[in-house]
Amino acid sequence: MIAQAPALASIGTPRHHYVAFALMLGLAVAAPYLEYPVFLAKLLCYALFACAFNLLIGFVGLLSFGHAAFWGTAAYASAHFASKGFAIGTITIFKVAIPINIAIPPFPPEFAIIAGVVVAAVFGYIIGKLAIRRLGIYFAMVTLAFAQMIFFLAVQAPFTGGEDGLQLGNASRLAIGVLNLRDNLTLYWFVLGVFLIGFLFIYRVVHSPFGQVLKAIRENEPRAVSLGYRVERYKLMAFVLSAALAGLAGGTKVYVTGSAALGDVNWPMSGEVVLMALLGGMGTIFGPVAGAVVLISIEEFLAERAGAWVSVIQGGIFVLCVLAFRRGIIGEIARVIRKPL
């Protein structure tokens, strides 16, 4: 077992979860009046990404070192569908021309993001199906390798724009027909909405009977097998859910930064999300959010002052966390108040 946080209470929602959630929500509502909303929206995207990653490591015990693949492909897909729509002309197979001629105009934000989620889930299914054939440390290496493969494909594929990436440009940013995402504050509320949907969904999954089985697999896989659970299916399902949620975060991010680029699929991004969950507390509900907020804030602070040192400092945080701070921020708080968070 990797996480040392106390086990979560299984039935009902304990009162301290309501308190912690209210605290988080209060901060999120007050924040845009204190800080730059676009930066905060970016924070929320990373927080959701970290929560999605944590679903695997914290509750199934699977360390994915390739989550950038899902965040990145969803970002590319959302940016593509939002700016160019979806079009298939005539397909030629063995010299037989099949006129399909589907042409869907550029997607509005909510559909572009959903398209990103679907693409990430499909990739999650394919990679997950292969990766869950190996356990533990091999699982981490397999996911990392497949993510690198997707990175190479993104470098070569014509529609990703290579080094330039995909720009959202003049694409429609009118979400659900009423929210103009060009307005910074509106963008923030929209992203907060997406984040809350994802966060509450994960909370629900973790506390469902399905989530209990996942935890059983984490604690003792052979026993879960002997009890008759089809462990592979549960793992795959969790992997696809995690990939889809990472896609939700990645697709939403496109509307915050206005682009999808190679950095979104490259391995440092995979490492970064691992660090967020580790710093905040793997296996806690609120930990990844805290980890993302702290880490991205540190990076933002450093970017202006000591840009080149960011990766050195990230590495230092990794080393410190592993050696002396394995419970993470929220994990330590949970230990002090003796309640799972």
Binding site: I2, G136, Q156, F318
Partner: protein, 295 residues
């Protein structure tokens, strides 16, 4: 001149040689990873960064002190080996009782630090390193031109791999190592200093990586990111071969390098991804890896 499947033999054998050279580095790095994992249960993510450090030390020795290739071949692995001792003594040893994943996370952090430090100091662009005088030039073999240095790398890496195999499989020290992999408590009870063996194993593994780095310096540009792009491919090699056997790592490393080289000739677009595709196929057919045990 004859032609094979419409490919000029010069191009074919040239890529084959390049593949063998890449394969030599896959083999040397996956070998070190396998030995370290076998003893310490740590997947050493810093392996690529220390390989890069080896290449950089060779370059620095030449630029700053005028010390050449042959001395660097000894000094760089020595320096990195000492760093390895420090890493094992100060950090890794606290993690042996924990989940294996923490070792991966710690060494990932170390890799970020090492790579970041070199990038801050020397920038992202590569530095050229001269081929030593003794190995300049090349031979015309009729069907292809063989640069002497590349021939040397293939031969020397094969020697190194077999020397490592010999030490582990055929000597008394190797027997202790293998015994300690199976049951450290029992070996300790026989009066063998297992913690010191762990330290030396890690130091030896990363010294081998640094040695590979020195050998790579004249072939590839010496750049801070040369390690991270290699280590991920080496992970795929390790998954394909399985970390169970020393010989398995060597064979898999060289074979995959050659396959990659051939792909460059016949289907260039896929040369970056072919190893990952092979990994997917191996996972489908033989999930434990070609030479691996279940786990």
């Amino acid at each position: 001149m004859f032609e094979l499947l419409g490919i000029a033999p010069q191009a074919l054998f040239g890529q084959l040689l390049l593949g063998l050279i890449n394969g030599a580095f896959y083999a040397m790095l996956s070998l070190g990873l396998a030995v370290i994992f076998g003893m310490l249960n740590v997947v050493n993510f810093a392996h690529g960064a220390l390989y890069m450090a080896g290449a950089f030390i060779a370059w620095l020795l030449l630029e700053k002190l005028g010390i050449g290739y042959w001395a660097a071949l000894v000094l760089a692995p020595l320096a990195v080996g000492i760093v390895g001792i420090a890493i094992e003594r100060a950090m890794l040893r606290w993690l042996y009782k924990l989940d294996h994943l923490y070792g991966l996370l710690l060494t990932f952090g170390l890799a970020l630090i090492v790579e970041g430090l070199f990038r801050n100091e020397y920038g992202s662009s590569g530095q050229a390193y001269q081929i030593p005088e003794l190995l300049e030039g090349g031979h015309n073999l009729g069907f292809m031109f063989l640069p002497n240095y590349r021939g040397w790398v293939v031969v020397f890496s094969l020697l190194l791999c077999f020397a490592t195999w010999f030490v582990i499989e055929r000597t008394k020290l190797g027997a202790y190592l293998r015994a300690a992999t199976e049951n450290p408590a029992l070996v300790q009870a026989f009066g063998i200093n297992v913690p010191r063996m762990l330290t030396l194993t890690y130091a030896g593994g990363v010294a081998l990586a640094a040695l590979a780095g020195v050998m790579a310096a004249p072939i590839y540009n010496v750049s801070p990111q040369m390690g991270s792009s290699l280590i991920i491919v080496v992970f795929a090699v390790v998954v394909i071969g399985g970390m169970g056997s020393i010989m398995g790592s060597i064979v898999t490393g060289f074979a995959l390098g050659v396959v990659e080289g051939l792909t460059k000739v016949f289907f260039a677009e896929a040369s970056n991804t072919v190893i990952f595709v092979i990994m997917a196929i191996v996972l489908l057919i033989k999930p434990a890896g070609l030479f691996g045990r279940v786990g």
